[in-house]
Symmetry: C2
Subunit: 218 residues, 2 copies
């Protein structure tokens, strides 16, 4: 589950030693995060026959925030919401991606991500690391309108990809259409019209047999 984790990327081609040390820390962090491009998610792309990675996913969420902000039930600061989605998956560089329908991995997720956050944001100058960590914590806590909208995008985006794939991860063995509805309901905490549309896609997917209506044997 953990990705290319053997030492800092920046150690492979060390930056010149005479760079300003604060800037050097910033750049070391910005090189390390290149690893997010190698963390694969379960979602299949719509535009190519491969799985999506976390960096692509995070970019897609940023554009979704900009495009769909008008559907937010509460006013949101769009720029701040984009910051939340840009950083929200960074800890997966060390903690790995936790699939939405993998209950077992979900149990250890918080612990793994906590350790990863300390390690990754610790590469930054202390004040900068604290600010980045605050954004990650805000997203996770889901207590601000911006965090709720960011979470809604994080659930809606793979739903669109699953729709395009005529099922995608909805076809995960043991997962039913009701499981999908339950995991996607957080969209409704940020936007009634987007949750209406999401339910419409889930319902129609179930009707077409892209997700199962009940687990086998029930």
């Amino acid at each position: 589950m953990t990705t290319s984790d053997a030492g800092l990327l920046a150690d492979r081609t060390p930056l010149p030693s005479d760079l300003d040390s604060r800037l050097r820390d910033h750049l070391t962090f910005l090189i390390e995060v290149d690893k997010l491009k190698t963390v694969l998610r379960q979602s299949p792309l719509a535009a190519a026959d491969r799985r999506e990675n976390d960096a692509e996913h995070s970019w897609h969420l940023a554009l979704m925030v900009m495009t769909l902000a008008e559907y937010a039930d509460e006013p949101i600061d769009v720029g701040h919401t984009i910051k939340l989605v840009v950083v929200h998956d960074l800890v997966e560089i060390y903690a790995g991606d936790t699939p939405l329908y993998d209950a077992e991995a979900g149990v250890s997720q918080q612990e793994r991500e906590e350790a990863a956050a300390g390690r990754l944001f610790g590469l930054l100058p202390e004040d900068a690391g604290r600010a980045m960590r605050a954004l990650f914590d805000e997203f996770e806590a889901s207590e601000t309108p911006e965090a709720r909208f960011a979470k809604a995008m994080d659930r809606l985006q793979p739903l669109l990809l699953n729709w395009m794939a005529k099922g995608g991860t909805w076809r995960t063995p043991g997962v039913t259409a009701n499981d999908v509805r339950a995991r996607k309901a957080v969209i409704g905490e940020a936007s009634a019209p987007l949750w209406d549309a999401a339910r419409r896609l889930i319902d129609e997917g179930e009707r077409r047999g892209w997700s199962v209506s009940a687990p086998p044997g029930t």
Copy 2:
């Protein structure tokens, strides 16, 4: 140069026809932009043995804006600057990537990108398309402090990847260290300390033979 361009992605698995038509246009656009994940750049990743795509690149720039904003010579609105980098490469979905050191492709670039912008942003509801287009134009015009900083990130990011690759596209035949300096000088229009650091990397790369000091025969 042009990528998967045969029709709209959303036409492959049409959205339910009873969705609100404005939201349907928004979602059609957000599905179409999945293609950005298939537009390959020349830059090699630091974390894996493959080339970077535009979506990953755009995400990396967003995080760089957040991390390096303190080095901007003029105050910038960080949220707005992130919006600029999130959209700046979208037109390459139809126009393709134009390598920085490809003068020939550079000639037709503006015309191709103009047509692509009309086509892509035209998928959105008219007001939303106009707003997205304005961000793209602002980035291109480079007249605001935010656009200048966004452009600086767009030049600094591949420079970091080239450093990590011990040359990367600096090794393009016919390209000299002075060509690299000339193409990267826009960093200095946004940030003196970042341009100092960038020059330090270019100088050191030349010293190590990762870029050539003069074209063969001169």
